[in-house]
Symmetry: C2
Subunit: 248 residues, 2 copies
Protein backbone atom coordinates (compact mmCIF):
# COMPACT_ATOMS: atom_id res chain seq x y z
CA UNK A 1 0.00 0.00 0.00
CA UNK A 2 1.46 3.32 -0.99
CA UNK A 3 -1.07 6.12 -0.62
CA UNK A 4 -3.51 6.80 2.22
CA UNK A 5 -6.20 9.11 0.90
CA UNK A 6 -8.20 11.15 3.44
CA UNK A 7 -11.77 11.83 2.33
CA UNK A 8 -15.02 13.03 3.94
CA UNK A 9 -17.75 10.39 4.38
CA UNK A 10 -21.49 10.67 3.82
CA UNK A 11 -24.64 8.57 4.12
CA UNK A 12 -24.66 7.99 0.35
CA UNK A 13 -23.92 4.63 -1.28
CA UNK A 14 -20.18 4.66 -2.04
CA UNK A 15 -19.59 7.26 0.65
CA UNK A 16 -17.59 9.68 -1.59
CA UNK A 17 -19.29 12.94 -2.52
CA UNK A 18 -16.96 15.95 -2.01
CA UNK A 19 -15.93 17.59 -5.30
CA UNK A 20 -12.53 18.63 -3.99
CA UNK A 21 -11.65 15.15 -2.80
CA UNK A 22 -13.12 13.59 -5.97
CA UNK A 23 -10.51 15.52 -7.97
CA UNK A 24 -7.77 13.54 -6.24
CA UNK A 25 -9.67 10.24 -6.27
CA UNK A 26 -10.20 10.55 -10.02
CA UNK A 27 -6.48 11.25 -10.52
CA UNK A 28 -5.42 8.31 -8.31
CA UNK A 29 -7.75 6.01 -10.24
CA UNK A 30 -6.70 7.40 -13.64
CA UNK A 31 -3.02 6.96 -12.82
CA UNK A 32 -3.68 3.49 -11.40
CA UNK A 33 -1.89 4.27 -8.13
CA UNK A 34 -2.67 1.89 -5.26
CA UNK A 35 -4.42 3.70 -2.41
CA UNK A 36 -6.73 3.20 0.50
CA UNK A 37 -9.31 5.70 1.73
CA UNK A 38 -9.51 6.80 5.35
CA UNK A 39 -12.71 8.67 6.15
CA UNK A 40 -12.58 11.74 8.37
CA UNK A 41 -15.71 13.59 9.55
CA UNK A 42 -15.69 17.41 9.11
CA UNK A 43 -15.30 18.33 12.81
CA UNK A 44 -12.29 15.97 13.07
CA UNK A 45 -10.31 17.32 10.07
CA UNK A 46 -8.36 19.95 11.97
CA UNK A 47 -7.27 17.69 14.83
CA UNK A 48 -6.46 14.93 12.33
CA UNK A 49 -4.24 17.27 10.30
CA UNK A 50 -2.48 18.70 13.35
CA UNK A 51 -1.81 15.23 14.77
CA UNK A 52 -0.25 14.01 11.51
CA UNK A 53 1.48 17.28 10.62
CA UNK A 54 -0.63 17.94 7.51
CA UNK A 55 -0.33 21.61 6.45
CA UNK A 56 -3.31 23.99 6.47
CA UNK A 57 -4.51 25.03 3.02
CA UNK A 58 -5.79 28.55 3.70
CA UNK A 59 -6.80 30.92 6.48
CA UNK A 60 -10.16 31.33 8.17
CA UNK A 61 -11.89 34.72 8.32
CA UNK A 62 -10.31 35.31 11.73
CA UNK A 63 -6.80 34.70 10.33
CA UNK A 64 -6.23 31.30 11.97
CA UNK A 65 -5.14 28.33 9.77
CA UNK A 66 -7.83 26.39 7.92
CA UNK A 67 -7.36 22.63 7.53
CA UNK A 68 -9.23 20.89 4.72
CA UNK A 69 -9.48 17.65 2.76
CA UNK A 70 -8.35 16.17 0.43
CA UNK A 71 -5.02 15.21 1.92
CA UNK A 72 -2.81 12.18 1.33
CA UNK A 73 -0.06 10.29 3.08
CA UNK A 74 2.57 8.49 1.03
CA UNK A 75 3.68 5.62 3.24
CA UNK A 76 6.75 5.05 1.07
CA UNK A 77 8.24 8.54 1.27
CA UNK A 78 6.55 9.60 4.52
CA UNK A 79 5.11 12.71 2.83
CA UNK A 80 1.83 14.31 3.88
CA UNK A 81 0.29 16.64 1.27
CA UNK A 82 -2.93 18.68 1.40
CA UNK A 83 -5.00 20.57 -1.22
CA UNK A 84 -6.05 18.96 -4.49
CA UNK A 85 -3.71 20.59 -7.01
CA UNK A 86 -0.53 20.23 -4.88
CA UNK A 87 -1.50 16.58 -4.29
CA UNK A 88 -1.87 15.99 -8.02
CA UNK A 89 1.49 17.68 -8.64
CA UNK A 90 3.06 15.40 -6.02
CA UNK A 91 1.55 12.32 -7.69
CA UNK A 92 2.79 13.48 -11.11
CA UNK A 93 6.32 13.90 -9.78
CA UNK A 94 6.40 10.80 -7.59
CA UNK A 95 4.79 8.40 -10.10
CA UNK A 96 6.33 9.50 -13.42
CA UNK A 97 5.59 6.18 -15.09
CA UNK A 98 1.82 6.50 -14.69
CA UNK A 99 -0.38 8.33 -17.24
CA UNK A 100 0.15 12.08 -16.86
CA UNK A 101 -2.79 14.41 -16.25
CA UNK A 102 -0.60 17.26 -17.55
CA UNK A 103 0.22 15.90 -21.02
CA UNK A 104 2.07 17.90 -23.70
CA UNK A 105 3.67 20.38 -21.29
CA UNK A 106 0.25 21.68 -20.18
CA UNK A 107 1.05 21.74 -16.44
CA UNK A 108 0.98 25.56 -16.23
CA UNK A 109 -2.08 25.89 -18.46
CA UNK A 110 -3.92 23.19 -16.47
CA UNK A 111 -3.18 25.18 -13.29
CA UNK A 112 -5.39 27.98 -14.59
CA UNK A 113 -8.34 25.70 -15.25
CA UNK A 114 -10.08 25.09 -11.91
CA UNK A 115 -10.47 28.81 -11.20
CA UNK A 116 -11.73 29.48 -14.72
CA UNK A 117 -14.26 26.67 -14.41
CA UNK A 118 -15.56 27.67 -10.98
CA UNK A 119 -15.81 31.37 -11.89
CA UNK A 120 -17.20 30.67 -15.35
CA UNK A 121 -19.79 28.05 -14.50
CA UNK A 122 -20.33 27.22 -10.86
CA UNK A 123 -21.14 30.48 -9.07
CA UNK A 124 -24.96 30.15 -9.48
CA UNK A 125 -24.82 26.46 -8.51
CA UNK A 126 -23.77 26.69 -4.88
CA UNK A 127 -27.08 28.12 -3.61
CA UNK A 128 -28.78 24.97 -4.92
CA UNK A 129 -26.30 22.23 -4.12
CA UNK A 130 -25.00 23.24 -0.68
CA UNK A 131 -28.45 22.97 0.97
CA UNK A 132 -29.02 19.64 -0.84
CA UNK A 133 -25.66 18.31 0.36
CA UNK A 134 -26.26 19.00 4.04
CA UNK A 135 -28.73 16.15 4.79
CA UNK A 136 -26.50 13.61 3.00
CA UNK A 137 -23.76 13.94 5.62
CA UNK A 138 -23.41 12.00 8.85
CA UNK A 139 -24.85 13.90 11.86
CA UNK A 140 -21.54 15.31 13.19
CA UNK A 141 -20.45 16.49 9.76
CA UNK A 142 -23.92 17.77 8.95
CA UNK A 143 -23.95 20.00 12.05
CA UNK A 144 -20.49 21.37 11.12
CA UNK A 145 -21.34 21.86 7.45
CA UNK A 146 -24.64 23.61 8.23
CA UNK A 147 -23.12 25.92 10.85
CA UNK A 148 -20.15 26.99 8.68
CA UNK A 149 -22.16 27.40 5.44
CA UNK A 150 -24.96 29.29 7.21
CA UNK A 151 -22.32 31.67 8.60
CA UNK A 152 -21.14 32.31 5.02
CA UNK A 153 -24.65 32.91 3.64
CA UNK A 154 -25.90 34.70 6.76
CA UNK A 155 -29.16 32.71 6.81
CA UNK A 156 -30.53 29.17 7.28
CA UNK A 157 -29.54 26.84 4.39
CA UNK A 158 -33.23 26.21 3.67
CA UNK A 159 -33.60 29.92 2.81
CA UNK A 160 -30.57 29.91 0.52
CA UNK A 161 -32.25 28.01 -2.34
CA UNK A 162 -33.87 30.54 -4.72
CA UNK A 163 -37.54 29.79 -5.30
CA UNK A 164 -40.15 30.56 -7.97
CA UNK A 165 -39.01 32.82 -10.79
CA UNK A 166 -35.71 33.49 -9.05
CA UNK A 167 -35.08 29.76 -8.91
CA UNK A 168 -35.77 29.39 -12.63
CA UNK A 169 -33.51 32.35 -13.47
CA UNK A 170 -30.62 31.17 -11.30
CA UNK A 171 -30.84 27.60 -12.62
CA UNK A 172 -30.75 29.01 -16.16
CA UNK A 173 -27.62 30.99 -15.22
CA UNK A 174 -25.96 27.75 -14.17
CA UNK A 175 -26.93 26.21 -17.50
CA UNK A 176 -25.47 29.22 -19.32
CA UNK A 177 -22.24 28.93 -17.33
CA UNK A 178 -21.87 25.29 -18.36
CA UNK A 179 -22.71 26.43 -21.89
CA UNK A 180 -19.58 28.58 -21.84
CA UNK A 181 -17.51 25.58 -20.77
CA UNK A 182 -19.19 23.56 -23.51
CA UNK A 183 -17.80 26.03 -26.09
CA UNK A 184 -14.30 25.30 -24.75
CA UNK A 185 -14.88 21.57 -25.10
CA UNK A 186 -16.36 21.94 -28.58
CA UNK A 187 -13.15 23.62 -29.81
CA UNK A 188 -11.12 20.47 -29.33
CA UNK A 189 -13.67 18.10 -30.81
CA UNK A 190 -14.14 16.32 -27.48
CA UNK A 191 -14.99 14.25 -25.59
CA UNK A 192 -12.11 15.63 -23.49
CA UNK A 193 -10.72 19.15 -23.31
CA UNK A 194 -7.54 18.06 -25.12
CA UNK A 195 -9.60 16.09 -27.66
CA UNK A 196 -9.10 12.37 -27.23
CA UNK A 197 -6.72 12.61 -24.25
CA UNK A 198 -7.90 12.81 -20.64
CA UNK A 199 -6.23 15.53 -18.57
CA UNK A 200 -6.61 17.30 -15.23
CA UNK A 201 -9.23 19.67 -16.63
CA UNK A 202 -11.63 16.78 -17.41
CA UNK A 203 -11.15 15.13 -14.03
CA UNK A 204 -11.68 18.51 -12.39
CA UNK A 205 -14.96 19.11 -14.25
CA UNK A 206 -16.08 15.53 -13.59
CA UNK A 207 -15.33 15.88 -9.87
CA UNK A 208 -17.68 18.87 -9.68
CA UNK A 209 -20.34 17.07 -11.73
CA UNK A 210 -20.26 13.83 -9.78
CA UNK A 211 -21.03 15.80 -6.62
CA UNK A 212 -24.31 16.86 -8.24
CA UNK A 213 -25.02 13.38 -9.51
CA UNK A 214 -24.58 11.60 -6.18
CA UNK A 215 -26.19 14.26 -3.95
CA UNK A 216 -29.28 14.78 -6.10
CA UNK A 217 -29.28 11.20 -7.38
CA UNK A 218 -29.09 9.83 -10.90
CA UNK A 219 -32.89 9.87 -11.27
CA UNK A 220 -33.43 13.40 -9.95
CA UNK A 221 -34.88 16.17 -12.10
CA UNK A 222 -31.76 18.21 -11.44
CA UNK A 223 -29.24 15.62 -12.59
CA UNK A 224 -31.33 14.58 -15.59
CA UNK A 225 -31.50 18.25 -16.52
CA UNK A 226 -27.72 18.80 -16.23
CA UNK A 227 -26.88 15.53 -17.98
CA UNK A 228 -29.02 16.57 -20.95
CA UNK A 229 -27.65 20.11 -21.37
CA UNK A 230 -25.34 21.06 -24.22
CA UNK A 231 -26.09 17.98 -26.27
CA UNK A 232 -25.59 15.67 -23.31
CA UNK A 233 -21.95 16.72 -22.91
CA UNK A 234 -21.90 16.36 -19.11
CA UNK A 235 -23.70 13.08 -18.87
CA UNK A 236 -21.34 11.73 -21.52
CA UNK A 237 -18.23 13.10 -19.78
CA UNK A 238 -19.14 11.32 -16.55
CA UNK A 239 -19.92 8.14 -18.50
CA UNK A 240 -16.60 8.33 -20.39
CA UNK A 241 -14.73 8.54 -17.08
CA UNK A 242 -16.75 5.82 -15.34
CA UNK A 243 -13.81 3.44 -15.10
CA UNK A 244 -12.05 6.00 -12.85
CA UNK A 245 -14.94 6.34 -10.40
CA UNK A 246 -14.15 3.43 -8.13
CA UNK A 247 -14.01 4.07 -4.39
CA UNK A 248 -11.45 1.89 -2.59
CA UNK B 1 -1.84 41.30 -49.51
CA UNK B 2 -4.10 38.98 -47.63
CA UNK B 3 -5.19 40.45 -44.30
CA UNK B 4 -6.32 43.99 -43.48
CA UNK B 5 -6.00 44.48 -39.75
CA UNK B 6 -8.08 47.24 -38.13
CA UNK B 7 -6.40 48.79 -35.09
CA UNK B 8 -6.82 51.91 -32.93
CA UNK B 9 -4.13 54.60 -33.33
CA UNK B 10 -2.43 56.74 -30.70
CA UNK B 11 0.16 59.50 -30.42
CA UNK B 12 2.78 56.96 -29.33
CA UNK B 13 5.77 55.97 -31.48
CA UNK B 14 4.65 52.86 -33.39
CA UNK B 15 0.98 53.84 -32.99
CA UNK B 16 -0.16 50.45 -31.60
CA UNK B 17 -1.13 50.36 -27.93
CA UNK B 18 -4.48 48.53 -27.40
CA UNK B 19 -4.08 45.21 -25.57
CA UNK B 20 -6.99 43.59 -27.38
CA UNK B 21 -5.66 44.48 -30.81
CA UNK B 22 -2.10 43.57 -29.78
CA UNK B 23 -3.34 40.01 -29.19
CA UNK B 24 -4.14 39.70 -32.89
CA UNK B 25 -1.06 41.62 -34.06
CA UNK B 26 1.18 39.29 -32.06
CA UNK B 27 -0.56 36.27 -33.58
CA UNK B 28 -0.30 37.64 -37.15
CA UNK B 29 3.41 38.32 -36.62
CA UNK B 30 4.02 34.96 -34.93
CA UNK B 31 2.32 33.09 -37.75
CA UNK B 32 4.13 35.19 -40.35
CA UNK B 33 0.91 36.11 -42.16
CA UNK B 34 1.16 39.11 -44.50
CA UNK B 35 -1.05 41.95 -43.30
CA UNK B 36 -1.47 45.69 -43.41
CA UNK B 37 -2.85 47.85 -40.62
CA UNK B 38 -5.68 50.31 -41.15
CA UNK B 39 -6.10 52.71 -38.26
CA UNK B 40 -9.60 53.57 -37.04
CA UNK B 41 -10.25 56.19 -34.33
CA UNK B 42 -12.62 55.17 -31.50
CA UNK B 43 -15.63 57.31 -32.53
CA UNK B 44 -15.41 55.87 -36.08
CA UNK B 45 -15.37 52.16 -35.13
CA UNK B 46 -19.14 51.64 -35.19
CA UNK B 47 -19.74 53.34 -38.55
CA UNK B 48 -16.69 51.55 -40.00
CA UNK B 49 -18.01 48.17 -38.86
CA UNK B 50 -21.55 48.82 -40.10
CA UNK B 51 -20.27 50.01 -43.47
CA UNK B 52 -18.16 46.89 -44.00
CA UNK B 53 -20.58 44.45 -42.37
CA UNK B 54 -18.33 43.59 -39.44
CA UNK B 55 -20.34 41.94 -36.64
CA UNK B 56 -20.73 43.54 -33.21
CA UNK B 57 -18.89 41.76 -30.41
CA UNK B 58 -21.19 42.44 -27.45
CA UNK B 59 -24.05 44.62 -26.26
CA UNK B 60 -23.93 48.05 -24.65
CA UNK B 61 -25.60 48.69 -21.30
CA UNK B 62 -28.71 49.90 -23.17
CA UNK B 63 -28.95 46.64 -25.12
CA UNK B 64 -27.80 48.02 -28.50
CA UNK B 65 -24.92 46.30 -30.36
CA UNK B 66 -21.36 47.21 -29.38
CA UNK B 67 -18.73 47.33 -32.16
CA UNK B 68 -15.09 46.99 -31.17
CA UNK B 69 -11.62 46.41 -32.52
CA UNK B 70 -9.68 44.29 -33.32
CA UNK B 71 -11.30 43.23 -36.57
CA UNK B 72 -9.78 41.84 -39.76
CA UNK B 73 -10.68 41.55 -43.42
CA UNK B 74 -9.31 38.64 -45.42
CA UNK B 75 -9.11 39.99 -48.99
CA UNK B 76 -8.72 36.45 -50.36
CA UNK B 77 -11.85 34.91 -48.86
CA UNK B 78 -13.80 38.14 -48.38
CA UNK B 79 -14.34 37.36 -44.70
CA UNK B 80 -14.71 40.05 -42.03
CA UNK B 81 -14.10 38.85 -38.47
CA UNK B 82 -14.25 40.75 -35.17
CA UNK B 83 -13.11 39.97 -31.60
CA UNK B 84 -9.63 38.74 -30.81
CA UNK B 85 -10.23 35.06 -30.06
CA UNK B 86 -12.56 34.42 -33.04
CA UNK B 87 -10.00 36.19 -35.26
CA UNK B 88 -7.22 33.95 -33.98
CA UNK B 89 -9.42 30.89 -34.54
CA UNK B 90 -10.07 32.07 -38.10
CA UNK B 91 -6.33 32.52 -38.71
CA UNK B 92 -5.60 29.06 -37.29
CA UNK B 93 -8.16 27.50 -39.60
CA UNK B 94 -7.36 29.54 -42.70
CA UNK B 95 -3.57 29.35 -42.46
CA UNK B 96 -2.99 25.76 -41.29
CA UNK B 97 0.60 25.73 -42.53
CA UNK B 98 1.71 28.54 -40.23
CA UNK B 99 2.90 27.92 -36.64
CA UNK B 100 -0.11 27.11 -34.45
CA UNK B 101 -0.86 29.12 -31.33
CA UNK B 102 -2.96 26.16 -30.10
CA UNK B 103 -0.30 23.43 -30.19
CA UNK B 104 -0.83 19.90 -28.86
CA UNK B 105 -4.66 20.02 -29.01
CA UNK B 106 -4.78 22.88 -26.48
CA UNK B 107 -7.38 24.95 -28.37
CA UNK B 108 -10.10 24.43 -25.74
CA UNK B 109 -7.72 24.89 -22.82
CA UNK B 110 -6.28 28.07 -24.40
CA UNK B 111 -9.84 29.41 -24.69
CA UNK B 112 -10.07 29.48 -20.90
CA UNK B 113 -6.88 31.48 -20.48
CA UNK B 114 -7.73 35.14 -21.18
CA UNK B 115 -10.54 35.20 -18.62
CA UNK B 116 -8.38 33.46 -16.02
CA UNK B 117 -5.57 35.96 -16.63
CA UNK B 118 -7.77 39.06 -16.49
CA UNK B 119 -9.65 37.89 -13.39
CA UNK B 120 -6.54 36.55 -11.70
CA UNK B 121 -4.17 39.43 -12.33
CA UNK B 122 -5.54 42.52 -14.01
CA UNK B 123 -8.52 43.69 -11.94
CA UNK B 124 -6.44 46.09 -9.75
CA UNK B 125 -4.53 47.38 -12.80
CA UNK B 126 -7.30 49.16 -14.70
CA UNK B 127 -7.67 52.05 -12.22
CA UNK B 128 -4.01 52.91 -12.90
CA UNK B 129 -3.64 52.27 -16.60
CA UNK B 130 -6.92 53.59 -18.02
CA UNK B 131 -6.28 57.18 -16.81
CA UNK B 132 -2.68 56.93 -18.09
CA UNK B 133 -3.88 55.72 -21.50
CA UNK B 134 -6.30 58.58 -22.12
CA UNK B 135 -3.75 61.35 -22.93
CA UNK B 136 -1.86 59.04 -25.34
CA UNK B 137 -4.79 58.93 -27.76
CA UNK B 138 -5.54 61.32 -30.60
CA UNK B 139 -8.05 64.04 -29.58
CA UNK B 140 -11.18 62.45 -31.09
CA UNK B 141 -10.40 59.05 -29.57
CA UNK B 142 -9.35 60.65 -26.29
CA UNK B 143 -12.71 62.38 -25.91
CA UNK B 144 -14.55 59.12 -26.65
CA UNK B 145 -12.33 57.03 -24.36
CA UNK B 146 -12.63 59.51 -21.48
CA UNK B 147 -16.40 59.85 -21.80
CA UNK B 148 -17.09 56.10 -21.94
CA UNK B 149 -14.61 55.13 -19.19
CA UNK B 150 -15.79 57.92 -16.89
CA UNK B 151 -19.35 56.64 -17.35
CA UNK B 152 -18.14 53.21 -16.18
CA UNK B 153 -16.28 54.52 -13.13
CA UNK B 154 -18.84 57.24 -12.37
CA UNK B 155 -16.15 59.90 -11.85
CA UNK B 156 -13.43 61.83 -13.71
CA UNK B 157 -10.53 59.59 -14.79
CA UNK B 158 -8.10 61.71 -12.76
CA UNK B 159 -9.99 60.70 -9.61
CA UNK B 160 -9.88 57.00 -10.50
CA UNK B 161 -6.17 56.50 -9.72
CA UNK B 162 -5.82 55.47 -6.05
CA UNK B 163 -3.41 57.73 -4.16
CA UNK B 164 -1.26 57.52 -1.02
CA UNK B 165 -1.60 54.33 1.02
CA UNK B 166 -4.49 53.14 -1.17
CA UNK B 167 -2.25 53.52 -4.23
CA UNK B 168 0.49 51.45 -2.61
CA UNK B 169 -1.98 48.76 -1.55
CA UNK B 170 -3.67 48.51 -4.95
CA UNK B 171 -0.35 48.41 -6.82
CA UNK B 172 0.76 45.60 -4.48
CA UNK B 173 -2.47 43.73 -5.32
CA UNK B 174 -1.57 43.95 -9.00
CA UNK B 175 1.88 42.57 -8.21
CA UNK B 176 0.28 39.72 -6.23
CA UNK B 177 -2.03 38.96 -9.15
CA UNK B 178 0.91 38.67 -11.52
CA UNK B 179 2.57 36.56 -8.83
CA UNK B 180 -0.26 34.05 -9.19
CA UNK B 181 0.31 33.94 -12.96
CA UNK B 182 4.03 33.55 -12.30
CA UNK B 183 3.30 30.33 -10.39
CA UNK B 184 1.53 28.99 -13.51
CA UNK B 185 4.55 29.84 -15.64
CA UNK B 186 6.98 28.36 -13.12
CA UNK B 187 5.22 24.97 -13.37
CA UNK B 188 6.25 24.51 -16.98
CA UNK B 189 9.85 25.70 -16.52
CA UNK B 190 9.25 28.66 -18.85
CA UNK B 191 9.92 30.98 -20.53
CA UNK B 192 6.51 30.20 -22.08
CA UNK B 193 3.41 28.70 -20.52
CA UNK B 194 3.89 25.45 -22.45
CA UNK B 195 7.62 25.47 -21.62
CA UNK B 196 9.72 26.13 -24.70
CA UNK B 197 6.78 26.55 -27.11
CA UNK B 198 4.99 29.85 -27.69
CA UNK B 199 1.20 29.63 -27.57
CA UNK B 200 -1.86 31.90 -27.43
CA UNK B 201 -1.55 32.26 -23.64
CA UNK B 202 1.90 33.92 -23.95
CA UNK B 203 0.82 36.27 -26.71
CA UNK B 204 -2.26 37.15 -24.68
CA UNK B 205 -0.18 37.98 -21.58
CA UNK B 206 2.34 39.89 -23.68
CA UNK B 207 -0.43 41.93 -25.33
CA UNK B 208 -1.60 43.11 -21.92
CA UNK B 209 1.96 43.84 -20.79
CA UNK B 210 2.99 45.76 -23.88
CA UNK B 211 0.08 48.13 -23.28
CA UNK B 212 1.68 49.05 -19.95
CA UNK B 213 5.13 49.31 -21.46
CA UNK B 214 4.16 51.67 -24.28
CA UNK B 215 1.69 53.82 -22.33
CA UNK B 216 3.90 54.35 -19.29
CA UNK B 217 7.13 54.14 -21.29
CA UNK B 218 10.07 51.79 -21.01
CA UNK B 219 11.88 54.13 -18.59
CA UNK B 220 8.90 54.77 -16.30
CA UNK B 221 8.88 53.72 -12.64
CA UNK B 222 5.76 51.68 -13.33
CA UNK B 223 7.18 49.59 -16.19
CA UNK B 224 10.56 49.14 -14.50
CA UNK B 225 8.66 47.90 -11.45
CA UNK B 226 6.54 45.42 -13.42
CA UNK B 227 9.48 44.22 -15.53
CA UNK B 228 11.42 43.43 -12.36
CA UNK B 229 8.67 41.53 -10.53
CA UNK B 230 8.74 37.75 -10.14
CA UNK B 231 12.39 37.44 -11.02
CA UNK B 232 12.00 39.59 -14.11
CA UNK B 233 9.51 37.17 -15.67
CA UNK B 234 7.48 39.87 -17.46
CA UNK B 235 10.36 41.90 -18.81
CA UNK B 236 11.87 38.67 -20.10
CA UNK B 237 8.60 37.50 -21.67
CA UNK B 238 8.27 40.72 -23.66
CA UNK B 239 11.94 40.49 -24.66
CA UNK B 240 11.55 36.86 -25.76
CA UNK B 241 8.66 37.85 -28.03
CA UNK B 242 10.34 40.98 -29.40
CA UNK B 243 10.59 39.57 -32.93
CA UNK B 244 6.77 39.45 -33.04
CA UNK B 245 6.28 43.09 -32.06
CA UNK B 246 6.59 44.70 -35.46
CA UNK B 247 3.87 47.11 -36.56
CA UNK B 248 3.20 47.02 -40.30
Amino acid sequence: MTIIFYDIPSTLPGNAWSPNTWKVRYVLNYKGIAYKTEWVEYPDIEAHAKKLGIAPTSKKADGTPSYTLPAIHDTTTGAYISDSFPIVEYLEKTFPNTPSVFPAHTHGLQATFDGAFVDGALTPLFQFILPATCPKLNPRSEEYFRRTREATFGKPLEEVVPKGDAGVTEWAKFKDGLGKVDTWYAKSGGPFLLGSTVSWADLDVAAWLIWLKVVWGEESTQWKDIASWQGGRWGALIANLKQYQTVV
